[in-house]
Amino acid sequence: MRKVLGNKQAIALFVLPAFILYTIVVIAPIVISFYYSFFSGTPGLKWEFVGMKNFLRLFGDSRFLDALIVNLRYIGFVMIGQVGLGLCMALLFRFWLKRFKNLIRTLMFFPVVLPTVAVGQLFAKIYEIQPNYGLLNSLLANIGLRHLVHAWIGEVDTALGSLIVMDIWAAIGFHAVILYGAILDISDDVIEAAAIDGAGSFQLFRHILAPLLRPMIITCLIFSFSGTVKMFESAKALTGGGPGNATKSLSMYMYDVAFNYNKVGYGSVIALFIFLMCIAGSTVIGLFDRKEDL
């Protein structure tokens, strides 16, 4: 037994190829990014050591700050929409939906599997105003709301909101299905007992469901956060970051800096910032989970 499961040659064969690949492609780049962040220019081309200059530059860079604000607003609204509305839908399924539960769940989940770029292209046409009205504008125009017809993704005021709506639409089914599963895990006895004790819907939610669902809500928030902090694909596909920089995220700004302006060192600083934000945010959300246990 020992001999077979302790077979050194087999362990090396099983672990080493993946270990080496993972180290080079996933872990090493973080270390290299850190190294790059002390240089200006492009490797092999005007590559100079500049010390902390790239880091200091971050705080005075208004385009970076703009991207950070766009990204934070996006994170906040999308998280609330995906998890908050997802929870509402899950509750709706559990307590008010009597038939077709599986069919509706299956339909709801479908947008989750669609490629982000396809969703972006679809919504670009939904929001379109030129050369023809898209779906939204043509519906508005024909139900007497012509004054609402609008270049949804062409104007600074509505572009980010339109993007947020799209991303909530695309992922809400994911959160609704997960939370619905968690609600089903709560035994009917607990809910019935509370109802017999005279708890109303709100009290039932506040005192019974919310505490029991808490861990899964936190998991959903972490998933939603780690998806939105990376904000890139959907914005790229819907608006390309525009109009102006109205929907330009940190990742998109990093991409511009590193690949279009060829400032690899400064781009790496932004990349590290995204990495730290990702870890810090998930850790903070995770803390809410443990607090209640004490």
């Binding site: 077979v4 190829p17 080079i24 709801m108 989940f109 490629p115 770029v117 089914g173 994911f174 997960i178």
Partner: protein
Amino acid sequence: MKTRPHKKIKFHDILTKVIIALILIVDVYPIFWLLTASIKKNSEWVEYPAYALPRGFYWQNYVEAWTRGHMATFFKNSLIDTLVSLVFIVIFSTTVGFAVVKMDWKWKSAVAKYFQIGIMVPVATALIPLYQMFLKTHLTNTYTSLIISYVAFGLSLSIFLITGYLRTMPNDIFEAAVIDGCGIYSLMWHIVVPMMKNAIVTVLVLQFFFKWNDLLFSMTFISNSELKTVQTGLLYFSDEFGSKNWGAIFASVSMSILPMLFLYIFLNKAIIEGMTSGAVKG
């Protein structure tokens, strides 16, 4: 007293039905619109409102997307990149998973933790150094660059799911097999792999969607349009067709979601389970 609660329930019932109907419309209608719009003639966009149903079946849109829009090439590339990556992801995650859960060696829990770091690494963070690496090794504009990145970035979550599954498996079976004279490699192939069929399906489903949907790696490492994937191709579609040829754009977007639609019709249970397993088992 008797009629009031009765009335209330009825109103309640209608309200929930309306809400559920609204949710379903919002969820399904855009996709329905996309599919029906893909067979409209370009003139229909001018003559009728955007929500109008198509007047006929104008398949020419699909022909145009497939040939002039290079969708045929993009599909081939996406299939090669995704399928080859999936093979490696499954092999690596089952072997590493088995080694860190069931085998005896000193560093196994440290290595398991090390592989989990990757779950937190955003693709954007690794992008710049990876691009420089591929540039130096002349791997930009190759299938290899994408497959290497897809596999490496697919490992953390896959190994996490496989190890979670393996931990719930009793050791008796392996012990019995070993006592019967089974070597480690035949144990892996004849016992572990068949027993982990469900976990492997989960990994396949999850990673298929992740890899098929990748945009960031493919738009960074691939500039040759012969090697572009469906996602990068779609992104620059409007450039190819101009903003007025809606028919061809809708046809190409529809084409990119049709495989998903068919997979989903037949495998929706496995897909929902697979996609949510990362959250449910974490």
